[in-house]
């Protein structure tokens, strides 16, 4: 009996882990698409872009969980005649022009520091780990009932001079600082 349980559970874990792996890929494909889509439902101030044809930059800060999916999605994409490009950053200071920033879980501990570094910049911050929005993130991915939802911190967006479309807002759970 004992023999079977210590064999069985890891197997299970492994199986579910495999599954989990597939799920995770799937999950980040969707999130990638969402990231791309955010561009259509957010308004940046005019000074967020250098010129009319300046691209929309989706930046990934920290570990990249998307794999090829994001690159795949943004390829040939246009939002308001602006091409969409991907940038990867390891440190806040590296961020030059960026409109949407996905902050990876790996940066969890440094989150406040990052936000401070992003103060006065019109960058849409997106994350998917606990407390992200509570601590100042603008959009947090939440998985509910096998569906990816998001919670939006409108205050944070407003502070950054970003206007989030009501169409997006109505899909999301609006949170006020203090609640996650």
């Amino acid at each position: 009996m004992l023999f079977r349980s210590w064999f069985f559970i890891p197997a299970l874990l492994f199986a579910s882990g495999l599954d989990l792996c597939a799920q995770t890929t799937r999950e980040y494909e969707v999130k990638a698409a969402f990231l791309n889509d955010f561009a259509q439902f957010v308004e940046w101030p005019a000074d967020a872009f250098v010129g009319v044809k300046s691209p929309i930059v989706i930046g990934i800060l920290g570990d990249d969980p998307f794999g090829d999916s994001l690159a795949e999605i943004v390829r040939d994409e246009n939002v308001d005649n602006r091409p969409v490009v991907i940038e990867r950053y390891q440190r806040v200071q590296d961020i030059k022009a960026c409109q949407i920033l996905f902050i990876s879980q790996s940066e969890n501990k440094r989150l406040e520091e990052i936000f401070a570094g992003l103060k006065d910049r019109s960058i849409l911050t997106v994350g998917d780990f606990d407390g992200f929005a509570k601590r100042g993130g603008m959009i947090r991915f939440v998985t509910e009932k096998n569906k990816i939802r998001f919670r939006i911190n409108v205050e944070a967006a407003k502070t950054a001079n970003l206007t989030i479309s009501s169409k997006l807002l109505r899909l999301a759970e609006i949170i006020t600082p203090g609640k996650d």
Partner: protein, 472 residues
């Protein structure tokens, strides 16, 4: 086409036709426009609605929020004619639908963009776009049935309006046409009365100062003119009649005196010549006796001439006194009166088929006397003489004829035959004054008939005269 309809109906018809046509055209125009643009308008509305829905559902589609999408589609409940709507994702799969529990089948996959009419429904697809990117497809199905019903109801209302308007037009025109027709009818009636009763003292009533008033004035003026002319005419006729009567009386007096006083010397001449002849018979020689004969004959001739002239003038003057005359007995009377001349000769008389006529008896006697007298005279050379008197009925005339087998006349001069003092034989051949036939023509023409004659030279002559069968 309208020409013979009475004027009131004509006016009303014109009015009704005009208003009817106008109404019809207006209603048709509006209705037609509605119908024509109806479909277009519906499509437009649907499309607009679709645009609103799709604009609202971009986020839901983009972020795969089925509930939100369904909720957005549910807003279509506000438009009761939308029977179905669906959102398809970029994959072509039905993402959200309205109504939620619809039994109807949705299209499996989105087809070409655009709306089309089918089976009383308007259905189609339109893209869901966000910032130039197509996020999915919206499908909507619109029930035209109710719309058609509405359209139909509009049509019914239009028809009702038209009927009511026409009725109003009818009633109005019936009253208003009187403004025009009453004066016209009054004028027409007056004219009719005038012409029927020949009363020119009637005057038409004038209504108003328009062209009809003018017409009325002119009409009345004409009537006054006619009255005046009639009066002057009658005056003139009276004058003329008076003059004629005077002339007639003078003529009568003249012929009276002629008949008496002119004859006396002639009688004396003949009488005393006769006495002379008796008294101086042995003293006179052949030539003397011949001279006396000539004198006597001349006197007698003049006497005959006077008689004929008198008769001729009397015939021209007198009134025709028509009476029923039995021609047969009249002819026999005349024939018998000639016995003096006819007794010594052999004459074969054929008198047959003479009808009763309406004529002036003494005048008609004169006619027969002349014609039969001529027949007797000019057949003197024949033995036996044959005189035929008869009558044929041609159309509505009696055609009498007197035929003899005497000397006849030359047809070349037939036109002169009935002239006054015209003779076609010399006096020494046949005595006569040349008035007899002129008399006959005068009398017959006064009765409304004609006279003519035929002859085949020496074979004899036929004299015809006609009298109308009925006189009015």
């Amino acid at each position: 086409m309208l020409q013979n309809i009475p004027i009131q109906r004509k006016l009303m018809t014109v009015n009704l036709l005009t208003s009817g046509a106008v109404l019809l055209l207006t209603c048709l125009a509006f209705f037609g426009y509605e119908v024509l643009t109806f479909r277009q308008a519906t499509v437009q509305r649907l499309f607009t609605l679709g645009k609103i829905i799709s604009a609202n559902s971009t986020a839901a589609l983009a972020f795969d929020d089925r509930d939100a999408a369904t909720e957005i589609l549910a807003a279509l409940k506000a438009e009761p004619h939308i029977v179905a709507a669906g959102l398809y994702g970029t994959t072509g799969k039905l993402f959200a639908q309205y109504p939620v529990n619809s039994p109807a089948a949705f299209p499996a996959a989105p087809e070409q963009d655009g709306y089309h009419f089918e089976r009383g429904h308007l259905a189609g697809f339109q893209p869901v776009m966000q910032s130039g990117r197509r996020l999915g497809t919206l499908y909507m199905e619109y029930d035209m049935g109710a719309m058609y019903e509405q359209l139909w109801r509009r049509g019914e209302i239009a028809a009702l309006v038209m009927v009511v308007s026409l009725l109003t037009a009818y009633l109005l025109s019936r009253t208003l046409q009187k403004q025009i027709s009453v004066p016209i009818l009054a004028l027409a009636e007056t004219a009719h009365a005038v012409s029927k009763q020949r009363d020119f003292s009637v005057r038409a009533v004038k209504f108003g100062e328009d062209e009809l008033g003018l017409l009325t004035d002119a009409f009345n003026q004409m009537l006054a003119e006619i009255q005046k002319l009639n009066a002057t005419l009658e005056e003139r006729v009276r004058e003329r009649t008076g003059q004629l009567e005077i002339a007639n009386k003078e003529l009568e007096a003249f012929s009276y005196s002629v008949s008496h006083d002119l004859r006396a010397p002639l009688r004396h001449v003949d009488g005393f010549v006769d006495l002379l002849r008796k008294q101086s018979a042995e003293k006179l020689d052949e030539r003397g006796r011949r001279y006396l004969d000539i004198i006597a004959a001349s006197a007698r001739q003049m006497g005959t001439l006077i008689d004929d002239l008198l008769v001729f003038s009397r015939m021209s003057r007198g009134d025709l006194r028509r009476a029923k005359v039995a021609s047969e007995s009249l002819v026999h009377e005349v024939k018998d009166a000639m016995q003096g001349e006819t007794n010594s000769r052999r004459i074969i008389w054929k008198i047959d088929g003479l009808p009763q006529v309406e004529a002036d008896a003494p005048m008609l006697r004169q006619v027969w006397a002349n014609l039969i007298g001529n027949a007797v005279k000019y057949s003197r050379t024949r033995d036996p003489a044959e005189i035929e008197i008869g009558c044929d009925t041609v159309n509505d005339e009696f055609v009498f004829f007197v035929r003899d087998n005497g000397v006849g006349f030359d047809m070349q001069y037939v036109d002169k035959l009935f002239g006054v003092f015209q003779r076609l034989h010399r006096a020494d051949e046949f005595e006569g004054t040349g008035i007899g036939l002129a008399n006959v023509r005068r009398i017959v023409s006064r009765h409304g008939g004609r006279t003519w004659a035929e002859s085949n030279g020496d074979g004899g002559a036929t004299f015809f005269f006609s009298l109308p069968k009925t006189t009015n």
